[in-house]
């Protein structure tokens, strides 16, 4: 076999591949009207991620040259990268902790907190679960308290009227803002939880787990429940004043307690000031938060919250 011809052949293939790649890389998919380019890096909560992804998706229709990445390391993980200066936006399903804010301050990262949507942290069970429609916070506490580890393993220990069915727990991992918020609301202390359950940063794993086992129970953001009605069953939560089922209305008017909560994005001030891509994306996100929330099945902001958000946005720019 002629060496020269085989090398020329290989060279031709490589050149063709390179051209193909260059072609693929350069063109935007849709022709968005804007001419902006740049990157926006966001990371953080897996609860907020579907909202951020929807925003990025819709934003691409407007500014197709901007490259947005949404990663999901969990609220805590997101703050870590944010305070290292690696991301422009941190998605969070709980407010930033004092320790985390201190780290940011030390690193010289100034940020602005914007409430972007609301959420009703939902408790779900298997659709075949016919003995439970409404769960009290006390019952949730029994289920999830650190003391219950190894001890509470059956539904009839939660309430004697429940059947003799093994209790399997699925929930958020420790980097998750959902974990922090849930444990804070149910166990009285953020981070206090039994450890013998299936923790996952990926809420989809929780859905799969709960959908597959009769005695399973799990918790995650409302959008995941709405996205998967039928695969799992949502419970009403009795926070002391009656059973309330999570929905846009009950979350917005505050009756869904104690599991109603705001969702945040934290924007790095310097990114907003210096990176036009970030400016455009954040502006788009906040100004269209209602339609984005509707698209992603999130609870939109109340009018009051919208006004506050506009103020926060104004303070940035």
């Amino acid at each position: 076999m002629n060496t020269r011809s085989s090398i020329t052949g290989a060279g031709a293939v490589l050149a063709a591949a390179a051209l193909l790649l260059a072609g693929c890389g350069g063109q935007p998919a849709d022709n968005g009207e804007g001419g902006l380019t740049g990157t926006v890096a966001s990371d953080g909560s897996s609860t907020v991620a579907p909202l951020a992804e929807a925003a990025a998706d819709l934003f691409r229709g407007v500014e197709s040259g901007v490259q947005v990445t949404v990663a999901t390391s969990g609220t805590g993980g997101g703050f870590k990268t944010f305070c290292e200066g690696e991301t422009d936006i941190s998605n969070a399903s709980r407010p930033i902790k004092d320790e985390e804010a201190a780290i940011c301050e030390e690193a010289g990262i100034e940020f602005t907190e914007i409430v972007i949507a609301n959420d009703g942290l939902s408790v779900v069970v298997n659709p075949e679960n016919d003995w439970l429609e409404c769960i009290t916070v006390e019952q949730l506490h029994t289920m999830w308290a650190p003391e219950s580890e190894g001890a509470i393993t059956n539904w009839n220990q939660i309430d004697p009227s429940f059947p003799d069915q093994a209790l399997t727990l699925y929930g958020a991992g420790t980097d998750s803002g959902t974990f922090d918020y849930f444990t804070g609301a149910v166990n009285g202390e953020e981070g206090a939880s039994r450890t013998d359950y299936s923790p996952s940063e990926d809420d989809n794993v929780t859905i799969q787990g709960v959908a597959g086992e009769l005695g399973a129970v799990g918790y995650f953001g409302l959008s995941y429940l709405l996205e998967n009605e039928g695969t799992i069953k949502g419970l009403s939560v009795d926070g002391g004043s009656g059973c309330v089922y999570p929905s846009n209305e009950t979350v917005q008017d505050g009756s869904y307690t104690p599991l109603g909560r705001p969702l945040f994005i934290y924007v790095k001030n310097t990114s907003y000031a210096e990176n036009p891509a970030v400016t455009a994306f954040v502006d788009y996100f906040v100004e269209n938060s209602a339609s984005i929330a509707e698209d992603a099945l999130f609870v939109p902001l109340t009018d009051e919250q919208v006004a506050t958000a506009q103020e926060e946005l104004a303070s940035l720019g």
Partner: protein
């Protein structure tokens, strides 16, 4: 001797034997049936896997898979960034691993003293590296990034680095086999004509081994194409709204996109995962066919 590969002909031929009587005893036949079962079970599994994936994924095996970006609604979603990302990563891996692997193999096979202890250690080392779990290469790359102080893991060259280290031992082993297969006469003839050892390798031995090297390289790259575990550790699981377009660009790859969509509860995403799997399998099949074609067409029988 008949040329048909009919099962009946083959079975009866496999029963041909010099000693009469023993082959057709019930126990012998049962044994043979058990062996056939072993083989057929594996093949049946393969068929079921491919058929179920094909059936599940066929509805979404359309142009939108290539043109759409991931979305929260499966109807709108597609694998475009993953496909382009895979191309970028594999291309970069090729550039990193192949020249290095061939160079290392040339040294080990042509120039190094094979009797020395150090060289045997190197050989053992390469064999061992080829069998290490792929996720360990992800951890190695993670540590390298930590040392270099690079915090943004999601870049094409980072993923390519992990994959390149993963397939480097495979390329070395395959290249060595190919070089070994070139007869000594070729080398000796070249040396006899006054060529230096390096010239001999570069102008005679290596070109003669190119088909074998190409086959090995393509098979190694096809393995890299299907890898997800090392890249999961390196930020490969990310939502992109753009085509990866540079060595430092964010990226994701097809196996990770499949992993992502498989983990979602909505059926629509499972269909997408199956469709992307079909695409991936088709690509791998094409690469393997290319490797076999090169081997059959250009392999010289010495």
């Amino acid at each position: 001797m008949s040329t048909s590969i009919g099962i009946g002909a083959v079975v009866s031929r496999s029963l041909q034997v010099r000693a009469k009587g023993g082959e057709t005893s019930p126990r012998s036949l049962a044994f043979l049936a058990a062996l056939w079962f072993c083989l057929l079970f594996a093949l049946l599994f393969l068929v079921v896997l491919i058929v179920t994936t094909l059936i599940e994924g066929a509805p979404r095996l359309d142009a939108r898979l290539f043109t759409e970006y991931p979305a929260s609604n499966p109807e709108r979603a597609g694998a475009r960034p993953a496909i382009i990302g895979s191309l970028w990563v594999i291309g970069t891996t090729t550039l990193m691993a192949i020249p290095l692997g061939i160079a290392a193999a040339i040294h080990l096979e042509e120039f190094a003293d094979k009797k020395s202890r150090i060289n045997r250690v190197v050989e053992l080392n390469v064999q061992n590296l080829a069998a290490i779990p792929s996720i360990v290469y992800g951890m190695l790359t993670l540590a390298v990034l930590g040392i270099l102080g690079i915090t943004n893991k999601n870049m094409v060259w980072v993923g390519a680095l992990a994959l390149a280290m993963l397939i480097l031992p495979v390329i070395i082993i395959a290249t060595r086999e190919a070089l070994r297969a070139v007869p000594a006469e070729i080398r000796q003839g070249s040396l006899a004509l006054g060529a230096s050892p390096l010239q001999t390798v570069l102008r005679n031995t290596l070109p003669a081994a190119v088909p074998g090297i190409a086959t090995g390289a393509i098979l190694a790259l096809s393995r890299a194409l299907g890898e997800a575990a090392p890249l999961l550790l390196l930020g490969g699981l990310v939502y992109l709204t753009f085509d990866p377009n540079g060595l430092a660009s964010g990226y994701t790859v097809m196996p990770i996109q499949i992993f992502n969509w498989t983990g979602r509860p909505q059926e629509g995403f499972h269909v997408l995962a199956a469709a992307t799997s079909i695409l991936l399998l088709a690509l791998l099949l094409a690469m393997n066919a290319l490797a076999i074609f090169i081997r059959n067409r250009y392999q010289q029988r010495w």
